[in-house]
């Protein structure tokens, strides 16, 4: 498919997602037009501006950050199953959040800060171990270090949950991921990081193509692979840490979205990365919408993406075997 066609379709898809996210629900779609024409009452305004709009923006930021990071990680590790949480940020953030809840320190902002810095710290730890000079294939070592540290930290999280019996529900629900309030602050925190990080990935997307050939070939065409890998990992760590801190652990987006686009536009990152980002900014708000309207409360977003992720994985598996 031509890339311009794909982008156009994705933009329409985004528009639909925006309308649905802001409109769907008890008050009907006409309130959107009322707001635009200025005739909406305060009640409707509050619902849209205080709840639906920030939740939708948050979903877009999270989607774009995770899917762009996933795309980059799949190129860096030359592995279609690589995902943004490979650096251990999900389990790191969980420990941070669980710690904040268990120790009962502060409110929501403390929790976000704890999750964010724990996530960053974990990624740094994984990188440090993975790039220790004793390993010949450092990319591979980073992958294994990520798995090792993630499993250790999820153990720690489980123990913390066990001891925080009173507020257990709170921690568990946080881990499962959501776009709930106070959404505006979360947007303020994550938006600048998302813009900077995604911009970096888009600007250097040519290098991602080179990485697909393998480290030696990338060096052969004049890419300083070591330096680029370092900054790539730093950027992805920042992006995903900020995402996890504000939304909890939302899995599989970083795999589902890039792979879907890969089937449509191919591997080349000048096409793949922008279209991946555009698909996720439509996809994630729709998942948020499902979470919002499916029950009286909010279904955990991470659970919904995981339920979609499983079958998608099977689909990839079956596609490969033929």
């Amino acid at each position: 498919m031509k890339i311009t066609t794909v982008i156009s379709i994705l933009l329409i898809f985004n528009l639909v997602a925006i309308l649905l996210s802001l409109g769907a629900g008890s008050s009907g779609y006409d309130h959107i037009f009322k707001i635009i024409s200025g005739s909406a009452d305060d009640n409707v305004r509050t619902i849209v501006f205080e709840f639906r709009l920030p939740a939708m923006l948050l979903a877009m930021i999270v989607g774009a950050s995770l899917s762009a990071s996933g795309c980059a990680m799949q190129a860096l590790f030359r592995n279609p199953l690589a995902e943004p949480y490979i650096l251990g940020v999900a389990s790191g953030a969980s420990v941070g959040a669980a710690l904040a809840v268990t120790l009962k320190i502060g409110e929501i902002h403390t929790r976000i800060a704890f999750a964010f810095f724990f996530a960053l710290f974990t990624a740094y730890l994984v990188y440090l171990i993975g790039t220790s000079s004793r390993f010949r294939d450092q990319t591979y070592a980073i992958l294994l270090a990520g798995v090792a540290i993630a499993s250790f930290f999820s153990g720690v999280t489980s123990i913390l949950i066990y001891f925080s019996s009173q507020s257990m529900h709170e921690v568990v629900f946080w881990i499962m991921g959501s776009f709930s309030n106070p959404a505006w602050e979360k947007v303020y925190i994550s938006l600048p990081i998302a813009i900077a990080g995604i911009a970096y990935l888009l600007i250097t997307s040519w290098n991602l193509n080179a990485l697909l050939l393998g480290d030696e070939h990338a060096v052969a065409v004049g890419l300083n692979v070591e330096r680029y890998r370092k900054s790539l990992i730093a950027v992805v760590a920042l992006l995903t840490s900020a995402t996890v801190a504000v939304s909890g652990v939302i899995g599989f987006v970083g795999i589902i979205v890039p792979h879907t686009m890969r089937l449509l536009v191919g591997e080349e990152h000048q096409k793949l990365l922008p279209s991946t980002i555009l698909l996720s900014t439509a996809f994630m708000p729709l998942i948020g919408l499902i979470s919002r309207i499916s029950t009286s409360g909010n279904l955990p977003v991470g659970a919904i993406t995981a339920m979609l992720g499983g079958p998608f994985f099977l689909y990839l598996l079956l596609r490969r075997s033929v």
């Binding site: 030359r78 600007i203 250097t204 040519w206 290098n207 193509n209 080179a210 697909l212 050939l213 393998g214 030696e216 070939h217 060096v219 052969a220 065409v221 004049g222 890419l223 300083n224 890969r262 191919g266 591997e267 080349e268 000048q270």
Partner: protein, 407 residues
């Protein structure tokens, strides 16, 4: 353009992988690096490109050291050993070769597309632009990688086993493509395992052993049985053809000091003589007319009884032939044609049969190759009857001798 590698020492870990290596490469040269696994061929290429830094010595291109990977990628077209497997489209892969020439956002411009497309044309894959790399054959994939190297417009190509794992036609095609590029005024340093391929294409061969250049020069100078034994620890036979040389493996000798006499002519003995010599037998042949094709082989490989061209077997030659039959441990009657000129060779064969050491290669029915009448027919039948071993194919000859000599 001149590449100078001067006295370099390269360490990996605590081990010296290259020890005081010095050589020069100029445009139009295709240098083959020959050496066993782990001798330092890849390290040499990586050091020249600048992935590895020598602890001592310098690599200079036109009198200057190259500082960064980015700069190196413009002068050197480095092709690592393992071919990547990705779903990138062929043209996108080749465009990556333009990376060192892109600045800022690194987006290919019209010039980059032009160079990349020309590179694809040079390797014969003009129509492959939109195919995915992973769906190509090994040979095609390697050609795409060569196009990537060409797109870099390098002065010197550093190719690490570009023909590994490829079938013979792809190997030749790849080497032809490389040579064509070199003839345009570039140079290439190619690490390669196939000695015959190297000697067919290289203008210069560097034989590397334990991180040192053991021998350097043109193929016919350095590809010798002694050098190959020294560097590879392998026993081969080096043969010449035209201006070139090629090697064939030397089979474990089973011949010892045993001697085999071959009665042949008109090309019927060539393969047999070679097979015997390779198996380590001392060989002789007779009676042959000089300049006969068997005669040429026999003079190269061993003793011979001969007559001038187109003349009959004389008494003295026949006597000498009989003497050789007596002294040999086995006598082979090749699938030769018999006329009045070499009629007496049949008598010599019959004598061998009587001594119990005749092996007959009875491939073509005798009446189709007999031009000496009924008498010859009878002698041949006699020889056949009393022969120790009769075989239908000359490929069987070594086995036949084994059978005869009881091994």
């Amino acid at each position: 353009m001149k590449l100078k590698v001067e006295n370099i020492i390269v360490k990996i870990g605590s081990r010296d992988v290259l020890k005081n290596v010095t050589f020069e490469v100029k445009e139009g040269e295709l240098v083959a690096l020959l050496g066993p696994n782990g001798s330092g061929k890849s390290t040499m290429l990586r050091t020249i490109f600048g992935v590895l830094r020598p602890v001592k010595g310098v690599v200079m291109l036109d009198g200057r050291e190259i500082e960064s990977v980015e700069a190196a990628a413009k002068s050197f077209g480095y092709l690592p050993q393992d071919t990547p497997l990705t779903n990138l489209r062929v043209l996108d892969v080749v465009l990556l070769g333009r990376t060192p020439y892109m600045s800022g956002l690194r987006r290919p411009d019209r010039e980059d597309y032009r160079v990349a497309r020309r590179a694809l044309k040079e390797v014969g894959l003009k129509d492959f632009e939109t195919r995915s790399l992973s769906e190509l054959s090994g040979g095609e994939r390697q050609k795409v990688m060569l196009a990537r190297v060409f797109a870099q417009q390098p002065k010197i190509m550093l190719l690490d086993e570009p023909t590994a794992h490829l079938d013979i036609s792809a190997q030749i095609e790849i080497m032809e493509i490389i040579r064509r590029k070199v003839d345009e005024g570039k140079a290439a340093i190619v690490a390669i395992h196939d000695i015959n391929l190297a000697s067919s294409f290289a203008t210069q061969i560097l034989m590397i052993k334990d991180g040192k250049i053991a021998y350097a020069g043109r193929a016919e100078e350095v590809i010798t049985e002694e050098n190959i034994r020294d560097v590879f620890d392998a026993d081969v036979i080096v043969r010449r053809y035209g201006r070139g040389v090629y090697i064939v493996p030397k089979l474990k000798p089973i011949g010892g000091k045993k001697r085999v006499h071959v009665i042949c002519g008109g090309g019927s003995g060539q393969k047999i003589l070679y097979a015997l010599a390779e198996a380590g037998f001392r060989v002789s042949a007779g009676v042959l007319n000089a300049l006969d094709s068997d005669w040429e082989v026999a003079t190269e490989l061993g003793e011979i009884v001969d007559e001038p061209p187109f003349s009959q077997v004389s008494n003295s030659a026949h006597e000498k032939n009989l003497e050789m039959v007596r002294e040999s441990d086995a006598v082979i009657l090749a699938n030769l044609s018999v006329g009045w000129g070499n009629f007496r060779n049949l008598l010599a064969a019959k004598r061998a049969a009587e001594l119990g050491k005749l092996i007959v290669i009875d491939e073509t029915p005798f009446n189709q190759r007999n031009f000496a009448g009924e008498e010859a027919e009878e002698i041949y039948r006699e020889a056949l009857k009393r022969a120790a071993v009769v075989t239908k194919a000359e490929e069987e000859v070594i086995n036949a001798i084994r059978k005869l000599l009881g091994r």
